[in-house]
């Protein structure tokens, strides 16, 4: 029997038992639905992490800390560490990066520059005729993608320029983000080494607003923090900390490498010298691990559903063989080979798998497409769709389910192919 004829006959047999076929397929469909959605979620998740990493890190940049001592038990006091309860790192000994460390790292082959993370702890930010508000200052990196609500920056920030967030722009009394651009704001800092003097020394720094970053769901670093140039951050940092025990000790430094491909090897070198370095790939990896675990759990549920439906297929196909004993006997009497009889039932199982896969994946696609805008809005993902359907993946899911169904159909198909036509055709 030709394969096309067998496939058509298999399809026809299924059409004659529509309800049963549909119900069996639906069992597989549940699995297909879950698997397709989890795969789409994985795709979307990877898109999302990709975007996060692009928005926050640079592939040429490593963020470096000193290796910390094991933090169990009570630690011995270390005067060199950035310790003391009043210090910026709380009441713990923290191994910090000193200027000597920075000079050492800069000598490593392939390192372009090392910038400590200044993060000056300023008092407040304000603008003319407004109240004073607390602020966290971070440094601007030209290689990190920012979403701007108004204005934009080409290349690096100048020392007298600042980027506000949308929240700060409105809190500081600007009518809109674009209204803020070009206006001046003032940041106030106190010199710590004189804080016990009768009158603490303070200094105002004035900036022109160059841009306003929009609250993107992608950014960890820029959100809620105001960005100034690295150089200006250093100036303010120096002013605040000079003369204190914490001065010249940094928890974090970013190392810029000359070639993105060297990031990994330089990481190894740094590791050997007592530093801990994280590349952009590490950051991506950490988030992806999380997504993959979630994905794995979902896929597990899908696989469980498929496993259950496998028994459904075996059961229905087996009953179908028993019901159609006479038909099978007749076909064999008419010269159909045992192999073709077996094939007929395997193809029926394949049809069921195809139907289930198509129904489940199709439904997942429809549901996902409808739900995407709502999910994006609820989770504040910006332009990213959490569920991205890949036609190739859907095709693989359907083909995979067809193969699984055929495997499930092997046992009933063998029963059919071994049927004795004489027994099958014996009239009662």
């Amino acid at each position: 029997m030709k394969i096309t004829d067998t496939i058509r006959r298999a399809g026809r047999s299924l059409r004659q038992a529509k309800a049963r076929t549909l119900l069996t397929s639906l069992a597989i469909g549940v699995g297909a639905f879950t698997i397709t959605l989890s795969l789409a979620g994985g795709q979307g998740g990877r898109d999302y992490t990709d975007a996060i990493v692009k928005a926050n890190t640079d592939v040429k940049e490593l963020s470096v800390t000193k290796k910390q001592p094991a933090s169990t038990g009570i630690q011995e006091y270390n005067a060199d560490a950035g310790a003391a309860s009043t210090g910026p790192f709380g009441g713990q000994n923290v191994e910090t990066i000193s200027n000597k460390d920075i000079a050492d790292i800069e000598k490593i082959d392939g390192v372009e520059s090392v910038t400590p993370n200044y993060a000056p702890a300023v008092n407040y930010i304000t603008t003319e005729g407004q109240k004073k508000y607390v602020a966290t200052i971070s440094t601007f990196s030209p290689s990190v993608t920012l979403d701007y609500a108004a204005g934009s920056v080409n290349g690096d920030l100048k020392d007298n320029e600042i980027i506000l967030t949308e929240d700060y722009a409105s809190t500081l009394g600007f009518k809109s983000p674009s209204d803020a651009v070009g206006k001046t704001v003032t940041i106030n800092a106190t010199k710590l080494s004189t804080s016990f003097a009768a009158e603490p020394l303070t200094e105002d720094y004035t900036f022109t607003v160059k841009g306003v970053s929009s609250a993107s769901g992608l950014a960890f670093r820029s959100q809620g923090s105001i960005l100034i140039s690295s150089n200006q951050a250093k100036t303010i940092y120096t002013y605040i900390n000079e003369g204190t025990s914490a001065y010249g000790k940094f928890f974090l430094a970013s190392v810029r490498v000359k070639d993105a491909n060297q990031a990994e090897s330089i990481k190894t070198v740094l590791d050997g010298r007592g530093y801990e370095a994280q590349t952009a790939a590490d950051v991506l990896g950490t988030i992806n691990t999380f997504i993959n675990v979630l994905l794995g759990i979902l896929l597990g549920f899908g696989a469980l559903a498929v496993l259950t439906s496998v028994f459904g297929i075996i059961n229905t196909q087996y009953i179908s063989v028993l019901e159609r004993t006479q038909q099978i006997g007749l076909m064999k009497a008419l010269g159909m080979s045992a192999r073709d009889v077996g094939r007929l039932f395997k193809y029926e199982a394949a049809w069921v798998g195809f139907l289930g896969g198509a129904i489940g994946s199709g439904l997942a696609f429809v549901v996902g497409t409808i739900a995407n805008p709502f999910i994006t809005k609820a989770l504040d993902l910006g332009n990213i769709a959490l569920l991205r359907f890949d036609p190739i993946q859907i095709a693989i899911v359907i083909v995979g389910l067809m193969l699984i169904s055929v495997a499930a159909g092997i046992f009933p198909a063998r029963k059919a192919s071994r049927l004795d036509p004489i027994e099958a055709l014996r009239t009662e």
Partner: protein
Amino acid sequence: MIEIKGITKTYGKKQNAFLALDNISFEIPDGTTIAIIGKSGSGKSTLMHAMSGLDRPEIGEVVIDGENILTLKQRKIDAFRATKMSFIFQSFFIQPNETCYDNVVLPLEIAEVPRAQRRAKVEAALAAVELTDKIKSKAANLSGGQKQRLAIARAIVNEPKILFADEPTGNLDSATGEVIEDFLFNYSKKNNATLIVVTHDADLANKCDVQIEIVDGKIHSTKGLKKSVRKGAEL
């Protein structure tokens, strides 16, 4: 030419052994109509199964056109049945949910007849049993006689040289039965095909050229056999 040589078939083992066919031998020329008659349990159906290669007796030969089909590989026997012989059964065994066309085209699919030739063959077979107008009807909607006519159409669609009919009129009233008989004999005559009818209906048996009566797995008597060749040890 069909030659049956010393067929013996046993069911069961040792003390429970039951001799269904005991050393049966005869020859049938092409185009003959034969009735195998006998009571139920006499072994006449077993003989038919052996002659068609559905069953394999332990001893004996079934030589069709010079080839002993009992020694053929299963695939060859399947191909043999698909192209050279066909069956009609008492309970029709048609697929009620399928259309008449789909019922009749089955042997053509099994024999891998090219698709382009199928329609014409199916139409010719349905025309031969006067069911042309039912080609698209569901088989379930046919009357009993029409169902057996449909079964005949399915049996003759691939123009077999040997047609087995197992109690073809057993489920039909006598008037309808006669119509069915006419279709079978007409086909045999027109195509010089051998028709082997298994029946206990004496009227139907009398219409055949040859009658072979089986009692307890042995040939009890024969009628119309031109040469009485190796009919069995007892005769």
